[in-house]
């Protein structure tokens, strides 16, 4: 099982591995725009964002803006993944008017893992299982009332999830 490096230079890896707030600060300036995010406008699969090899670029492509940390998001992920191939990760939030939730694993070859569109009446409580190639932050981004919020947690991975 060989995971190609996919152009993650060490410096960037160091940056991305930083604490959640630092990593997110790197995502760019907080936008005050309330315009609907790019991808949420329709049901088109955001292929470009999923193909990105850089977490912050993926978020930019997906939303056209960056997120700010919020304590109204509860991200639940293990301290140590029992196996990187199957890492249970879930999120709940008390933020109102949530329209999308996405999961980003910056250390994966393709950092954007999942993007969930939340219709009115659907609750922003999601559980899923993701692959993690190695120890990484997991960032959840919640789009609520036109703004982007995030929460971050580091998950240690000693048996990698063979890619993804």
């Amino acid at each position: 099982m060989i995971i190609p490096d996919n152009g993650f230079p060490a410096t960037r890896r160091l940056i991305l591995r930083g604490a959640g707030s630092i990593a997110l600060a790197g995502l760019g300036m907080i936008s005050l725009s309330r315009a609907p995010a790019l991808a949420a406008a329709n049901d088109r699969y955001p292929e470009d964002a999923f193909k990105q090899k850089d977490g912050k670029e993926a978020v930019k492509l997906l939303y056209g803006r960056t997120a700010e940390p919020s304590d109204k998001i509860k991200l639940d992920a293990p301290e140590i993944a029992e196996n990187g191939a199957v890492v249970p990760i879930s999120v709940t939030t008390t933020l109102a008017e949530v329209t999308s939730v996405s999961f980003v694993v910056p250390e994966n070859p393709n950092p954007l893992a999942a993007y969930y569109r939340i219709a009115p009446g659907t609750m922003p409580n999601i559980a899923n299982r993701l692959k993690m190639a190695k120890t990484s932050n997991v960032i959840v981004i919640v789009e609520a009332d036109g703004k982007l919020y995030s929460a971050t947690k580091e998950v240690k991975v000693t048996v990698g999830g063979c890619g993804g």
Partner: protein, 309 residues
């Protein structure tokens, strides 16, 4: 006194593909040296063990007492959950997965396979007591006519052969699915393995025990090195399962395999992990080992199919 395995000694995961020989060669030298050093550092001379007449009932009691004393906070029936009985963080991940367990598809496949008639119109059910439902806790058993241990996997293939069907691979998905379904119908029933009053049965039991404690492979590990001396310890990311109840949740869906595996698959991969060449699946040694391990877990409930990292 705890023996923590040096990282360098932790058994390799079985690679999906054979490594290039040069790499193996270099790595083997390195591991070799480390294994030797560790062995030197840890070596003590001890006199050989005591009485040789096997007493399965006494063994089972001592075996159970050992684990209960080692893990006083773990409920007896919880030992069948392996590492999840010992590690809270892992247990939460497992409980989350059990909400919709990854072995569902295999279990369903097993159920369909089990119900489907052979070409001659007979079914698996015709080969087993109680139509094969709720009987896993009695396998393996000692067949006094044959003088050998018969495991469920072996019995399933014999059933196929008897009905003119090709045998299944012991380490493949189909055998895993079949045994998963059969274990599922036995969930909650305590292991009820018997060692009949027959010197051959006692010998098979003793051979299984010997296999369990015998060190092998370049890493010089026995089954007991990991599962008696170091359960609960981390070896890389994995938390080693206690030997008590270790077969109760078989077959298992391992995330590492990305699928379901039989007892045969687990035994053979354990062997390669310690750099020993595995025996052929269902070799007499493995059958005896399964017999021994199941017997000493008598009374603990069947929990298969299980999920493991």
């Amino acid at each position: 006194m705890k023996f923590r395995m040096p990282r360098s000694l932790s058994p390799e995961r079985v690679p999906a593909s054979p490594k290039p020989a040069t790499e193996v060669s270099v790595r083997s030298r390195i591991h070799f040296a480390l294994a030797a050093l560790a062995a030197l550092a840890l070596s003590t001379l001890q006199p050989a063990g005591a009485a040789d007449t096997p007493d399965p009932a006494a063994d089972a009691k001592a075996f159970r007492d050992y684990f209960v004393n080692k893990f006083p906070n773990v409920k007896l029936e919880d030992f069948v959950n392996g590492p999840y009985a010992l590690d809270g963080d892992m247990r939460r991940q497992w409980e989350e997965k059990e909400q919709f367990p990854p072995y569902e598809f295999s279990l369903e496949m097993g159920k369909e396979m089990f119900a489907k008639p052979f070409n001659n119109g007979k079914r698996y059910a015709d080969c087993f007591e109680n139509q094969g439902i709720g009987i896993k806790q009695t396998y393996p058993y000692f067949d006094e006519r044959e003088g050998k241990v018969v495991t469920l996997e072996l019995a399933l293939n014999r059933c196929r052969e008897k009905n003119g069907e090709a045998v299944l691979s012991y380490v493949g998905d189909e055998m895993a699915a079949l045994t998963a379904y059969m274990a599922f119908t036995s969930r909650g029933r305590p292991f009820a393995i018997k060692v009949p009053d027959d010197p051959r049965a006692l010998e098979a039991y003793q051979n299984g025990k010997r296999y369990f404690y015998t060190r092998r492979g370049q890493l010089n590990f026995s089954c007991a090195t990991c599962h008696v001396q170091n359960p609960g310890e981390r070896m890389r990311a994995e938390v080693l399962a206690p030997a008590l109840g270790i077969l109760n949740a078989m077959p298992i869906y391992r995330s590492e395999w990305g699928g379901m595996g039989t007892i045969s698959r687990r035994f053979t991969t354990c062997n390669s992990q310690i750099r020993g060449v595995p025996l052929e699946p269902q070799a007499e040694e493995y059958r005896d080992l399964e017999y021994y391990l199941s017997y000493v877990s008598n009374g603990l409930p069947i929990a298969g199919p299980g999920a493991r990292p």
